[in-house]
Amino acid sequence: MRMELIQPFINSADAVLAQGLESPVSIENLTMEEEAYRRQGIAAEVCLTGDIEGRIIFDLDQKAATRFASRLAGAELPSTDGLVREAVCELANQIIGNAVTVLNDQGFHFRVHPPTVLTAERGSKSSEDTEALVMCLSTASGSVFMNVALRYHPRRAMEHAASAG
């Protein structure tokens, strides 16, 4: 997976979280994940299709998700509130939407599908061409895990290889 695909998501996560929480964000860990995704708390998944295909998962532990949602809602929410899950989905939607805006302006065309809440404990294993990059973003409200598994569409990959020479 190329950093040119990943960087807009990192920049967008940084900007959206910093604006929403009005506090700085730092990236603590950045790893390539070969094992199947394991859900840690409240997770939302967004799928992309087009020149770039794959999925991105945002995963927050219950406490961080509740703090984050309460902060954005401007009122204290109970951890069981459905709005907390909605907030995680909306967070994923905003971060991915902002990243997609940058990638589209770079000439990549694709469709973003509405976010869905992940309820399964484990996801599918990443493959050779869709290895997952996992990063932990540390915020004042807790940690946000972003799991990105993207690949070029085969047609776009051939064009990319041809232009690289």
């Binding site: 959206v16 604006q19 929403g20 949602a69 954005l72 809602a73 401007g74 459905g82 709005l83 909605e86 907030a87 989905c89 909306e90 939607n93 905003q94 971060i95 991915i96 939407g97 902002n98 997609v100 805006t101 589209n104 302006d105 973003v112 599908h113 509405p114």
Partner: protein, 146 residues
């Protein structure tokens, strides 16, 4: 949340009536909170484009705040269908996907403006004032002609 001078309908001085369309209930609540600080009244909500069209016909709001990426029918298509039947409809697209093609497509199909998420209240406020200005201009023209 910051306080804003109320934006009123120029014709009768009543609060601006909003229809908020977004598949995220969290996003709808956030937008509702914002427009209430502008002195507005949320008269309806919808979670997809199909419901947005029927709610527009039922409520005829002053402004629609419309998300783009939604299930069943996306926001740009819903905006186009509303404007086709109600050419005076004021639709403001509110989406996290703000690339140029999307903005141009929305404006070409009848949306009046575009606001990118995460929404800043002060940005939305200026857009609402701008979009409601046509009503003020029409009222002033009618007054001048009387």
């Amino acid at each position: 949340m910051e306080k804003f001078a109320p934006v009123k309908r120029s014709g009768d001085g009543q609060p601006v009536r909003y229809l908020i369309v977004d598949d995220s209930v969290f996003a709808r609540k956030n937008l509702a909170q914002m427009v209430e600080t502008f002195g507005g009244q949320v008269v309806g909500e919808a979670a997809d484009g199909v419901t947005a069209i029927s709610e527009y016909e039922r409520l005829t709001p002053d402004i629609v705040l419309m998300d783009i990426t939604m299930p069943q029918m996306e926001g740009i298509e819903a905006a186009e269908k509303i404007v086709r039947n109600y050419p005076g409809a004021r639709i403001v697209m509110v989406s996290s996907v703000g690339y140029q093609e999307n903005i141009v497509a929305a404006l070409q199909r009848g949306a009046r403006h575009f606001v990118q998420k995460p929404v800043k209240a002060e940005v939305l406020y200026e857009v609402i004032k701008y979009v409601m200005r046509d009503e003020q201009n029409a009222a002033q023209s009618a007054g001048a002609g009387a």
